[in-house]
């Protein structure tokens, strides 16, 4: 389990001539495939040689900070922008160059982009009518879809007479009613308040299960991506930094950037000292899974998530320290521990009342399981 290395996002453009272990079944069911896609706006490279495969029926998230090229990637799949270089496949069909109305893809825009001059019913029916669905069929399908998104009885309203959450649902219904091959969502929950956003995250996931359509979801919110997506591509400066399941990304991030973007992590600089050993700078030698080391040598950085560190010395990897800060946050207590390798953050779950040292300056030994350790190239979040 520990040795499953996260698939590199960047595949070779040619999927032909498959070696034995390459899984042709996966390639066949890829709903969306980007091959070496680059998008330049004048001198800005918004998307940089990006390759990507998205499985049919999956919930896929593009995650990254503002300006990293998520929207541009989505817009190229939707047909609103054409790639400067590279190819985009929907199923087996190469679609780059096709306008959006010739692609079997629908979009939920961040601003919703509901037609203000049309009723909810006509908004949702818009796509069906364009495709020549007639009379009764339109009514039935629109009403079915409004029921799925929980908007029965609002058919006659205009968009401006709806709340933000309701507008969001209309936008979703308007896209889904066409039963596209792929649904694109650009920060669809960005305009909603926190409580509604949490609720919609679960609802969206439920709807995706119900309709079985491939969802590609753009967000800068790591929690949102992890809550909803089966697979996540973490983007940085127009490239995919790492692609994998939420667990893979969290447990075995491949770069300091990914480790820092998804949750909190402690990174300690060190030097490789053996096939499964790293000597921490200024500190002891620790054991790491050989798979995590993945043949690296020289300078690396070792990462441990705060909740994986114990305040008692019962695990194999140990380091002495002194508590300098502690904060009780309900389910856990957060400690800042000064060690020879720098300050580490530790989350200790409050399973028993009053457990854990509360005094500052308390001397302690931190320990963690080697299996919970990951390794990245360096401490720097190189924007490459």
């Amino acid at each position: 389990m520990g040795e499953s290395i996260v698939l590199s996002a960047v595949r070779e453009p040619q999927t032909q001539a498959p070696p034995v272990e390459s899984t042709p079944a996966r390639v066949k069911t890829a709903d969306v495939r980007l091959v070496g896609v680059t998008k330049r706006f004048d001198d800005v490279v918004a998307v940089d040689d990006l390759s990507l495969e998205i499985e049919r029926g999956s919930f896929f998230a593009l995650l990254g900070p503002s300006g990293c090229g998520k929207t541009t990637t989505l817009r190229m799949i939707g047909g609103f922008e054409q790639p400067t270089e590279g190819e985009i496949f929907l199923g087996d069909r190469e679609v780059s160059g096709l306008p959006s109305y010739k692609r079997d893809v629908n979009t939920v825009f961040q601003s919703y982009a509901l037609f203000p001059h049309l009723s909810v019913l006509e908004n949702v029916a818009f796509g069906l009518r364009r495709r020549g669905v007639k009379g009764k069929d339109v009514q039935t399908r629109v009403r079915d879809m409004l029921r799925i998104v929980g908007l029965e009885g609002l058919e006659g309203r205009r968009p401006r007479q709806l709340s933000g959450g309701q507008q969001q649902r209309v936008a979703l219904a308007r896209a889904l009613v066409n039963r596209p091959r792929v649904l694109l969502l650009d920060e669809p929950l960005g305009a909603l308040d926190l409580k509604l956003r949490k609720q919609m995250q679960l609802e969206l996931k439920g709807i995706q299960h119900e309709v079985g359509i491939t969802f590609i979801h753009v967000t800068h919110d790591q929690e949102e991506a992890m809550t909803m997506a089966d697979r996540i591509a973490v983007m940085n400066a127009g490239r995919i930094e790492q692609l994998g399941t939420p667990t893979e990304l969290y447990e075995t991030p491949q770069t300091a950037y990914v480790a820092g973007f998804l949750g909190v992590s402690n990174l300690i600089a060190g030097t490789v000292a053996g096939p499964d050993r790293v000597r921490l700078h200024g500190g002891p030698e620790v054991r790491v899974p050989p798979a995590a080391l993945a043949g690296r040598s020289g300078e690396v950085a070792v990462g441990i998530r705060p909740e994986k560190i114990d305040l008692s010395g019962e695990h194999e990897n140990r380091i002495d320290g002194r508590v300098v800060e502690s904060a009780y946050i309900g389910v856990a207590t957060q400690y800042v521990v000064e060690t020879p390798c720098g300050r580490l953050i530790v989350y200790s779950q409050n399973t028993q009342p009053g457990s854990g040292p509360s005094a500052r300056d308390h001397a302690t030994t931190l320990s963690w399981n080697p299996e919970s350790t990951f390794v990245v190239n360096s401490m720097e979040e190189e924007p490459k």
């Binding site: 047909g79 959006s100 979009t107 825009f109 601003s111 982009a113 203000p116 796509g127 364009r130 308007r174």
Partner: protein, 287 residues
């Protein structure tokens, strides 16, 4: 002594009350005076449309009559002048708005080489004195080569009117397009509408108010124009030209009748518009 004090206090109270009254109503009085200043000439126009003038000049009140309204086209040439003005107005507003919509779309949506220059050029007819515009157009139409093809008359008036109306149309429609959410058109195409369907189903309905406003504005500007028209009308007589011609020899009260009708139509239109707006706001608020 106390009585004096009381009466003094009362007097100062009265003064304060009077001052408060003035302060409260000075704005109202001022507004009414301003309104009267604006309305007085119009009031005269309407009043004198019911006059029964003694001579050729309709300047002295002589007696009330409905005759002018009953025989509104009793003056030779008035009816044809009015018809010509309306024809030109309708055609010019239609053409100018159609062209103006396309120009506005190009200016707002696309970046092209002469975009900046076009933007300035569009404003030129608005900022050029009409007398210059009219004279230079006459120079153009008077040119031998051109006057061989097109003589001063209906078509030259129309061309001139379309020219200065385009500016108004572009300005009106551009304002609406700048506030237009481009994602709406992308959403339409996303849902399977091609360029034409997107234009007719989404863009056009959403800019329709601006198009209507542009037509009304162009019509008003065209019907009202005298200077440019006078230069380029040749033998044709529009309503403003007719009024000018007859004013020199004595304007008939029928001119006032037409003026009153134009005023009433305009005011009715405005009131209707305001009522529609109020109703819309109410219907939006009741949800």
């Amino acid at each position: 002594m106390s009585a004096i004090a009381v009466s003094a206090a009362r007097r100062s109270q009265d003064l304060a009350a009077a001052w408060a009254f003035v302060r409260r109503h000075v704005l109202t009085v001022y507004a009414m005076l301003g309104f009267a200043y604006l309305m007085l000439p119009i009031g005269f126009v309407i009043a004198f449309s019911f006059n029964h003038p003694q001579g050729r000049f309709n300047y002295v009140w002589n007696g009330f009559t409905f005759d002018n309204w009953k025989h509104w086209d009793g003056v030779p040439g008035l009816r044809s002048a009015l018809v010509l003005s309306i024809e030109i107005g309708l055609l010019a507003s239609l053409l100018a708005t159609a062209l103006g919509t396309l120009i506005a779309l190009a200016l707002v949506r696309y970046r092209f080489r002469a975009r900046g220059a076009t933007n300035i050029l569009i404003f030129l007819p608005l900022s050029t004195p009409e007398i210059v515009l009219g004279a230079s157009l006459l120079t153009l139409f008077g040119n031998r080569q051109i006057s061989n093809v097109i003589q001063l008359g209906f078509w030259t008036i129309l061309i001139a009117h379309v020219m200065f109306c385009i500016s108004f149309a572009v300005v009106t429609i551009k304002a609406r397009l700048i506030g237009f959410d481009r994602h709406l058109e992308e959403a339409a195409m996303d849902l399977g509408a091609n360029e034409w369907a997107t234009f007719t189903k989404v863009t056009l309905p959403l800019i329709a108010p601006a198009i209507l406003a542009s037509m009304l504005l162009c019509f008003a500007v065209s019907v009202d124009d005298f200077v440019v028209t006078y230069f380029n009308a040749g033998p044709r007589v529009t309503f403003p030209v007719f009024v000018w011609n007859s004013a020199r020899v004595g304007a008939p009260p029928q001119v006032n009748v037409i003026g009153s009708v134009i005023f009433i139509v305009a005011v009715t239109g405005m009131v209707a518009n305001v009522l529609v707006q109020i109703r819309r706001q109410r219907s939006a608020a009741t949800v």
